[in-house]
Every structure is written in C-alpha cells, then in structure tokens.
C-alpha cells in the first residue's frame, strides 16, 4: 500500500492504474518465479519435462507438413519450414488469447486474499507462455538446417518482432481477463472465434493463394503477428503492411486495454 499523508489529494484512477502497471513490472522476480513454477508443476513426473511441448509440436509439424504440402502441391522443403514457424507462433498467440480469458479468474483465490498489482497476473501469464514458446522454438533451427533456408541479415528483425508480440500479449491478457471476469459468456465466444481464426488466418496456407483478395488476409493482425517472425526466418521480406498492422494493433489495443483498466481496476476484486 502507498504511504499517503492526510493532506495529499487522492491519486486519480489513471495514476493508480499506471502505478499498478509499474509496480507489477518492478516485481519481476515474483512473476518470473511463479511462471517457472507453473511450467515445472505442469510437467512434473514426465521424463521429458517441458520438452513434451517441443515433441508434440514436432510431431504435428511433421505430419501436417507432409500432408498439406501434398494437398497444396508444394515442395516439402519449402512448405514445412513455412508451416513450422507459422504454427509455433500461432500456438503462442492463441494460447495467450485463451488463457487471457482467465488472467484474473484463474487466480481469484489470490486476488481475494492477498493484495498484489493486477498487472502482475498478466505478466506471469505472458512470461509463462514465452517460456513455452522458447521450448517450441527449439524445432525451428533444426527444420531450417535440414531444409537449408536462405537466411540473411534480416533475421535479426525477429527480436523486435518477439518484443512486440510480448507487449501485445500483455494488453490482450489484461483486456480479455477483465471482460471475462465481468461477463462469463466471453471465454466460450472467444474459443469459437479462435477456431475460425485458425483457418481464416494464413498460417498453413499462403496469402498468395487468394489472388485479388490477398490484401484482405494481410490486414489481419493475427497474420501480421505471425508474418513478422516467419518472413525473416525464411529469408523473405514480410508482407507490405505486417509491421504497420502490428504496431497499430499494439497502440490501439494497448490504449483501449489501459483505458478500461484505469476505469475498472478497483472492480476486478469484486468481479472474480
């Protein structure tokens, strides 16, 4: 709790929300440790530990890569790396959105018993999923070495891309977490939306296949999120709007999420 003197004016909602976001960041030791604990407990008792994630993704990529290369009449050597990176990033994005619906609901016992910055729960969720992503990414260099992707200097742009993905993950888990805590029919709505999104977003097919409709697929922020990571790893330039779409999504989503958080932060404890 803040030290507040008798005469000091009460801080505004926006100030308190900003303080929450900063205080959460300041407790990085806490959410990092909790996220590591989450992963450890999830895979306790299995021989491979968290590398089960890696193995299951590898199997999925192997099977789907060969099958869909045949369906789309593409070369496996070209299609499989494309699919691998696409699926790995999609898993991160979709899991953050799914789990984001229970950012606060999943920790209601803690929210009711201990005072913590609310942002901390979002950071924990995002960091946990970044750890899972890191395990999944282990497949990517293997696939790239096997199929010999033509990498150049542009590969370093995956670093700002991951950073933007992480920032987006934070506002998504705050926003979806709040809305789902208040309206309990939101998580199933989001689930069905994600199922459709998986097929509509160019993850396992290329937007080039759409012909004149191509720009429409490229304006999809979910595609942008995948493209900014996938393109540099495959040694090609990202689609025209990908970076712009992702930066815009970050700004608009971040502002909307923060505005809602500033307005309803003090209600979250009553909603969960």
């Amino acid at each position: 709790m803040l030290n507040i003197g008798e005469l000091a004016p009460a801080p505004s909602r926006t100030t308190q929300a900003a303080a929450d976001v900063v205080e959460g960041l300041d407790k990085s030791w806490l959410w990092m440790a909790l996220a590591v604990q989450d992963i450890k407990l999830r895979y306790r008792g299995s021989i491979l530990g968290p590398f089960w994630i890696t193995v299951s993704t590898a199997v999925m990529v192997g099977v789907m890569g060969v099958l869909y290369a045949r369906l789309f009449r593409a070369e496996v050597a070209v299609y499989l790396p494309f699919l691998t990176v696409g699926l790995v990033v999609w898993q991160f994005v979709s899991t953050v959105i799914t789990e984001g619906c229970s950012t606060f609901l999943a920790v209601q016992g803690i929210i009711h018993q201990v005072r913590m910055p609310f942002s901390l729960h979002a950071y924990r969720l995002v960091y946990r999923n970044l750890l899972v992503l890191a395990h999944n990414l282990a497949i990517v260099p293997i696939v790239l070495v096997i199929f010999g992707a033509p990498l150049d200097w542009r590969v370093i742009t995956v670093l700002p891309a991951f950073l933007l993905l992480a920032v987006n993950a934070v506002w998504v888990s705050m926003l979806f977490g709040m809305v789902s805590a208040r309206f309990r029919d939101v998580p199933p709505i989001v689930m069905s939306f994600l199922q459709v999104a998986f097929f509509v977003t160019p993850i396992f097919w290329s937007p080039d296949l759409l012909g004149v409709w191509k720009p429409l697929a490229e304006l999809n922020p979910l595609f942008a999120a995948i493209d900014v990571v996938r393109a540099p790893l495959l040694g090609v330039a990202p689609a025209t709007y990908s970076w712009l779409v992702l930066v815009m999504t970050t700004m608009v989503g971040g502002c909307a999420s923060f505005a809602l958080f500033a307005r309803f932060r003090s209600r979250i404890a009553f909603w969960v």
């Binding site: 507040i4 806490l30 440790a33 018993q113 309990r184 029919d185 939101v186």
Partner: protein, 261 residues
C-alpha cells in the same frame, strides 16, 4: 510510525448472478428502455461498509466484533488493500500483511518444502529471504519426511500446521487477521499459541476479527463493534464486548433499527 486511517469510507458492490453475468444479455438490455434494462440485468447492490471513520495507531491491537454480515471481512479486506473503497479514503503508513486464509498460495502438487518458498512469495517475501527461514519453519511443523511429499497427500491438520508455520515466520508491520487457527492436536495448539504471541508482538498494529470474545480479550486492547456496515460502538475492548453482549441479548436490537435508512 505505522498507522491506518479511514475517512468517511464506504464500500458498495454489485452481486452479479444469472443473466447479469452474460455479455449477450447486457448488450440486449442496454438497447431496450430504462426500467427493462434494470430487470434484465438482475444486479443486487450491497453496501458492505457505510461511512466509516477510524484511526488505528502504532501499538493498537484492534478487535472487530459483529454478527455475520456486519462487514468485518470487508473491512479487513479494505485494510489489506484487497478491496478499494467506493467512497472515502484509506491512509496507511507501513506494510500491511493479511492472513485471511492461511492456505492461499499453497500448491497441492508441490512438496511441503517447495510450498514454504512458494507461499512466501505470495507474502511478498523473496525466495532468498525465505530460504533463511525454511529450516526453522520445517522444524516447527514436526512434519519430518512428509515435507518432501506433495501437499495433496496431507491431512487437514498437517496442512494447517504447514500453513500456520509459514505465515507466522516473519512478523509484518501491520497485521490484519481473520480468526482461523482452529484445528490441530493439543500439543500443536500449545506450541502454536506461543508462536502466535511472538508473531503478534513483532508487529506494530494488529487488527483481528473473531467471534470468540475470549480470544479477542486475550489479544486486543481496543475494539469496534460493527453492524450492517456501520460502527455501533468503539473504545476499550471490555466496553465494546459489553456493548455487543447487550446488543445480542436485547429483544429489539437498537443498532439494527438505527442502521435502516
């Protein structure tokens, strides 16, 4: 110097149930007219605390007394910073630590030893600091080799020993507590009493809610008697307990009548 001050503090919240939990219903309701909207969104508003003024100073041992639903738990949560007041303010100096449910943050799949560190983290104690206390906590629990087993294999009594030992290892500046120490065998209860006394002595302020008058008289020097979110009586612990006993013995409780507005 630690203190907690409440100024004209009210807490009001809506209880959401049934269709008020639904986004679809909420969207449909707002598109219809005023009265209908209120019907479709069957929200119930609760005023749990109503215009509270309270000064808790360094050295105070404050008892919260009142019937069920008087607002004791809500007040504890406001003092702990879990709930924020809808009106008025809380001014605090000092780190507040709440022990409302001792088992919060215990993970059933982690071992007893891991849970010492884990529970410590939820109490805002860095694992580095907690490790220094881990052996002392482990010894106090008397759980022996059970400490290396997952907590889900523990009996209720063992769980309480562990939770109690962890929560009471470092006294906070301001301690906000719900009465919760109930289970355990006689030997452990004796040990626990002693540890509790040291723990409470270590903190500058104690706020304790309980239905046990003996317990409150033993631990506290001041008391407030809450009913329906308002303060009915405030002062020395003996006077407040006397006021509370008069209130529950009275056929028509005066506080209840006064609270109706």
């Amino acid at each position: 110097m630690a203190f907690l001050r409440l100024r004209d503090l009210s807490v009001e919240f809506s209880i959401y149930q049934g269709s008020s939990r639904s986004l679809k219903k909420a969207l449909l309701a707002t598109s219809t007219q005023g009265n209908l909207a209120r019907d479709a969104l069957d929200r119930i508003n609760v005023r749990a605390l109503n215009g509270l003024n309270l000064d808790i100073e360094n050295g105070d041992r404050l008892a919260l007394i009142g019937p069920n639903g008087a607002g004791k738990s809500t007040l504890l949560k406001v003092l702990a910073g879990i709930y924020e007041p809808t009106q008025g303010r809380v001014m605090a100096s000092g780190k507040v630590s709440a022990i409302l449910d001792a088992s919060v943050g215990l993970n059933p799949d982690a071992t007893g030893r891991e849970n010492i560190i884990l529970r410590g983290m939820y109490m805002d104690i860095h694992p580095r600091e907690m490790r220094a206390h881990a052996d002392e906590v482990a010894e106090f629990t008397d759980l022996g080799h059970y400490l290396d087993m997952p907590v889900r294999t523990y009996s209720a009594g063992m769980m309480i020993r562990l939770a109690f030992a962890i929560t009471t290892c470092i006294p906070p500046e301001i301690l906000v507590m719900d009465e919760w120490l109930t289970a355990g065998d006689a030997h452990f209860l004796g040990k626990a009493q002693q540890r509790m006394a040291e723990f409470v002595r270590g903190s500058s302020i104690l706020v304790l809610a309980s239905h046990s008058m003996e317990l409150l008289e033993q631990w506290c020097n001041r008391g407030i008697f809450l009913d329906q979110g308002r303060v009915v009586a405030m002062g020395g612990i003996k006077d407040v307990i006397a006021a509370y006993k008069r209130h529950i013995d009275a056929p028509h409780p005066p506080a209840r009548a006064a609270a109706v507005s």
